[in-house]
Symmetry: C2
Subunit: 324 residues, 2 copies
């Protein structure tokens, strides 16, 4: 069983790869647990201390020949996380289209060339939703993205669906909530602050919050996101049927609640490091995303429920061994 | 005001172009009625007797340079009808992806290069719907195509939406019902029979119906489709808001009702020319499309209601000056 993780040099991709390494096995096309013989990470860059048990391929997702060579014709499992993030795709339309849409399509086409269709997890996003939305997003709400990132993601969901229907892959698209708290550095994701306002103050660094206290997000901590991606993979094909995309459970958390919870856990000195300074572009994008979901289908399919603000912050503190 | 009709050599595109010629004017970007100075038809082939007032460009939609040259940098109105039909896109996956997805994207990119963003009508289809569906499709039902044609159409709808949001075009996607009765020859559309079972017998020719009498379709006669495309164009941008796609009104008609109505209008000798001979592939595709819609939004936006089986058949008889 060969596994490919695109975006494997990124925070979530690398975490996922380590979880798979620890797990050691995944179901094959016949849903029989099979030992993992190789995990390949594909990304534009890697952290310095990558575990030697991974095979790393450095390159761009738009390099079709490299993607095909990396897949190697005999990959069984693909976790496709590589992506230009929301803020990046909005700032550079062509780059977003090239990487998020063409790159994904190139990967799907490479999968299609294999004799054995791989099982593929595509990481989509709550950013597919936008425009006039109901108060609660249930499984029947139609995506209407108000950002190019979301538009590219939803196109890819439909491609994953059609390639699956044709039998070229066994694909499943998972709409990730905003992941918080991510360790490391801020990135171009419009939601980057949702980690930054917790991470930076806990590290003694000032953090700017570009949206107001009332802004709400649909959040999921990293370990739960990893679990969900693996669960999406392990479900048998029949569980997905003709609907190859799912909204993941998470929790509705207001920015103010995040800040107040951090204050309660880590004290005023930490929480006072957060300064609200509205960035209209980021606020527009972030508040176009829905913050409240009813994820009946996911819960029925065995995906775990989300976690509250306190658990989200405490998970980060424990993970990073921070003393508060 | 320069107008481009892709698929302008096809039945619907050419009809639309003639209607625009007769109309003589369209609203400009500021919704002010403006005389049409030129109508360009773009297609892979043209009928022999094209009106000399049209400028015809013969070529493939995937030829980016030609599409851009045809647009010419100063086109105000684009009606994008060119497409590989449903049966064709299902039989040749690569061809469908290339023409329906890449071709449309090339056109959108060419539009984007213009100094003045054109207003663009994209012809989508009820084929975007499929899978487990409610009995009645209202404006809230999420596309879940069970054919590559529908998947390509829905991807393009999202691209049209995002290019519009970015201000690159003022786009509107119109989901056409099955158009019946089309004159001319059968084509590779899985729904081709919906015209053939009326057209061929009325012309004294035997017709094979590849689906059972109970199969139902959401139908619209050609003149109503043309009207709807022009109406979609004439609506001000504000009427579309953030939702750039619409389900068109039509009428639910069972195949048996079509046959019985033809029998009543044209007699047994004509209707007896129809023979039902199930084609499982066509039946699967056609019955995956919904046949019953509740098109509140379209009716509210002033699109005309559909017509019943008798009106549909009589419209064809009158249009073709057939004696029954």
């Amino acid at each position: 069983m060969k596994v490919l993780v695109t975006g494997g040099g990124g925070f979530l991709g690398y975490r996922l790869a380590r979880a798979l390494l620890e797990k050691g096995a995944l179901p094959d096309a016949g849903d029989k647990s099979t030992p993992i013989s190789q995990i390949t990470l594909f990304d534009v860059a890697f952290p310095g201390d990558v575990d030697a048990r991974f095979k790393c391929v450095k390159g761009d997702l738009t390099d079709k020949a490299l993607v095909e060579a990396t897949l190697g014709g005999d990959t069984d499992a693909v976790f496709h996380l590589a992506s230009v993030v929301s803020g990046g795709a909005e700032a550079d339309f062509d780059l977003g289209m090239r990487v998020n849409l063409d790159g994904t399509r190139g990967l799907l086409d490479a999968c299609r060339k294999q004799a054995r269709p791989p099982r593929l997890i595509f990481t989509s996003s709550v950013a597919v939703f936008g425009g006039e939305l109901p108060e609660v997003i249930d499984d029947g709400v139609t995506p209407n993205p108000q950002g190019s990132y979301g538009a590219q993601k939803v196109c890819c969901e439909y491609l994953v669906g059609d390639y699956s229907r044709k039998g070229y892959i066994d694909g499943r698209s998972v709409r990730l909530p905003t992941i918080s708290v991510r360790p490391g550095k801020p990135n171009l994701a419009a939601s980057s602050f949702a980690s930054g306002i917790i991470r930076e103050p806990l590290n003694g660094v000032a953090a700017i919050c570009p949206v107001g206290r009332d802004a709400r997000l649909w959040l999921l901590p990293p370990p739960k996101a990893i679990e969900a991606l693996i669960h999406a993979y392990e479900l048998p094909s029949s569980a997905w049927g003709t609907k190859r995309v799912i909204n993941l459970p998470g929790r509705t958390v207001a920015v103010g609640e995040m800040i107040d919870t951090l204050r309660r856990i880590a004290g005023d000195r930490v929480a006072d490091l957060i300064r609200i300074q509205i960035d209209p572009l980021i606020e527009a994008l972030v508040t176009s995303w829905p913050a409240c979901f009813k994820t009946d289908r996911a819960l029925k399919l065995g995906f775990a429920a989300g976690q509250d603000a306190e658990s989200i912050i405490r998970a980060y503190i424990e993970d990073q061994k921070i003393r508060v």
